[in-house]
């Protein structure tokens, strides 16, 4: 674990019993004293706190920024309003995905990006290559990112940051807390209602301590972050999304808005839009074993009932909310229908399984405040 970057809050996490592991070039908390299962269930029932400061926070602005970014992502950006967030992907000429990301519009030509920690340096190089000279990019490596996730996050975080109460899913606001500038975004990667708070590194300990003081909060490591996102069908870059996976294969067509489907104009559009019309050779699906017990891990081979290899699991494990195995993977297009019987090769033995919805546990985002 040498040559790894330390989080600003490393000693803070260690004081809370964190066990660390390497991830994205950082020494990251994998779990705290509560353990993966307990942290997962706590997040589904109350509030989980996550240090996701390994993620890359970028600000892209200047004349032509919006158009330039639209050439790199399939999301429709021109139509977005200030403070709106959209999920998208940085695509490549082959239709593959360099990274998936969140884009927040701040102004006509001003965009905040949050990209994966493991991809951020590659993303920065990619953006530098394609962005015109008038467009500037700033990498906020002096900022931390703390996620506050769970069904009680709204009520409880509002006690500290009143703006949280009215902020709905995929909306963001630049505000302040204890006289420190913060960006409060209503998004996350657990399938629950919740927020991400961007704050300068020198104030993150102060924020972390106050969040810890709030009732019903607990710190949650990468272990539970993974099982939470997996249960709610969210993709993990490097596992479920790669430079060889298109957004259509990954079943992310919903993230390509209508104008972009018609007009294209982003890297790989020709391939991606053709797949959208004609279908892709393979598709991401959920997979569940018939015994309801055996976890299917990453890289498990999937076969059809005749015994030919037809795909593989890209993310799999155990879902503490479901109390059973959860997995997603890719299968040939003709086998992607729900209920299709498949065979998983687990430790040399054939295990019967079936294609299912990759959303094993319903997402509970707060899209409006009327209920």
């Amino acid at each position: 674990m040498t040559n790894l970057h330390a989080l600003v809050l490393e000693s803070f996490h260690a004081e809370r019993g964190a066990k660390f592991g390497p991830f994205a070039g950082y020494r990251m908390p994998v779990q705290y004293s509560l353990g993966v299962k307990g942290e997962h269930i706590h997040t589904r029932n109350a509030v989980g706190l996550f240090d996701v400061s390994h993620m890359g926070q970028l600000l892209i602005e200047g004349k032509g920024a919006t158009n330039a970014l639209e050439q790199l992502v399939p999301a429709a950006l021109q139509e977005m309003i200030p403070g709106q967030i959209r999920y998208s992907q940085l695509t490549l000429n082959n239709g593959g995905i360099l990274d998936d990301l969140m884009l927040t519009r701040w102004d006509e030509e001003s965009w905040g990006l949050v990209v994966n920690g493991a991809c951020k340096h590659g993303d920065i190089d990619h953006l530098k290559t394609y962005l015109p000279a008038d467009v500037t990019m700033r990498y906020f490596d002096n900022h931390s990112l703390i996620a506050v996730q769970g069904p009680k996050a709204r009520r409880i975080l509002s006690e500290l940051i009143p703006e949280a109460e009215q902020l709905t899913f995929m909306r963001s606001t630049q505000t302040s807390w204890n006289d420190h500038d913060i960006i409060l975004s209503c998004c996350g990667y657990t399938g629950e209602d919740g927020y991400e708070i961007s704050i300068a590194k020198q104030f993150v300990r102060e924020l972390a301590e106050e969040l810890t003081q709030l009732r019903e909060t607990t710190w949650v490591g990468l272990g539970a972050r993974n099982s939470l996102r997996l249960e709610t069908g969210l993709c993990l870059y490097g596992h479920d999304l790669t430079t060889d996976t298109t957004p259509i294969e990954a079943d992310l067509s919903w993230s390509i808005q209508k104008r972009r489907r018609t007009d294209g104009g982003f890297l790989g559009a020709e391939i991606i839009l053709k797949q959208m019309t004609d279908g892709s050779p393979r598709k991401r699906v959920g997979i569940k074993p018939e015994d309801g017990k055996t976890p299917l891990r990453d890289h498990t081979i999937l076969k059809n009932v005749a015994g030919s290899v037809v795909g593989e699991i890209t993310s799999g494990g155990f879902g503490p909310t479901l109390q059973g195995p959860v997995a997603m993977g890719y299968v040939l297009q003709n086998l992607c229908e729900l209920g299709t019987e498949l065979v998983a090769e687990v430790r040399g033995k054939d295990l019967r399984c079936a294609v299912c919805d990759p959303i094993f546990v319903k997402q509970r985002y707060v899209r409006n405040l009327s209920h």
């Binding site: 994998v30 353990g35 993966v36 299962k37 272990g223 055996t294 891990r297 155990f318 503490p320 430790r347």
Partner: protein, 124 residues
């Protein structure tokens, strides 16, 4: 009755020529919450060191090895419905399987409790 330990963090309780096998308290602590156990069938013969069972935690899958050569006579069927027993009571109710020993001399290479405690201290 003698209890021995392996460097793979299993315990073996020997009663006559029958050995009961499970994983140690330290092992379950390292694994985290156990969510699935795959057990060997009765009458399976296994060489010392052969992979005979699998324990999966929320984090990963780990192999369980036959600590000695012999024949599996019984598996703890309770674990298939309650894998959490491995965490709750690893060295009693959370046992994995029982085997008949073929060669009791293999026991001499295993660790006694004091040696095992020293071994895990060194691993930490």
């Amino acid at each position: 009755m003698t209890v021995k330990y392996t460097r793979e963090h299993e315990w073996i309780r020997i009663e006559g020529d029958t050995a009961t096998v499970g994983i140690t308290f330290y092992a379950q602590e390292q694994l985290g919450d156990v969510v699935f156990v795959e057990l060997p069938e009765a009458d399976t013969s296994a060489d010392q060191g052969a992979e005979v069972a699998v324990v999966e935690s929320v984090k990963a899958a780990s192999d369980i090895y036959a600590p000695v050569t012999g024949t599996i006579v019984e598996s703890n069927s309770e674990l298939s419905d309650r894998p959490e027993l491995v965490n709750e009571d690893p060295e009693n109710d959370g046992w994995f399987f029982k085997m008949n020993l073929s060669d009791t001399s293999e026991l001499e290479d295993l660790l006694d409790e004091a040696d095992y405690q020293t071994f895990i201290q060194e691993e930490l």
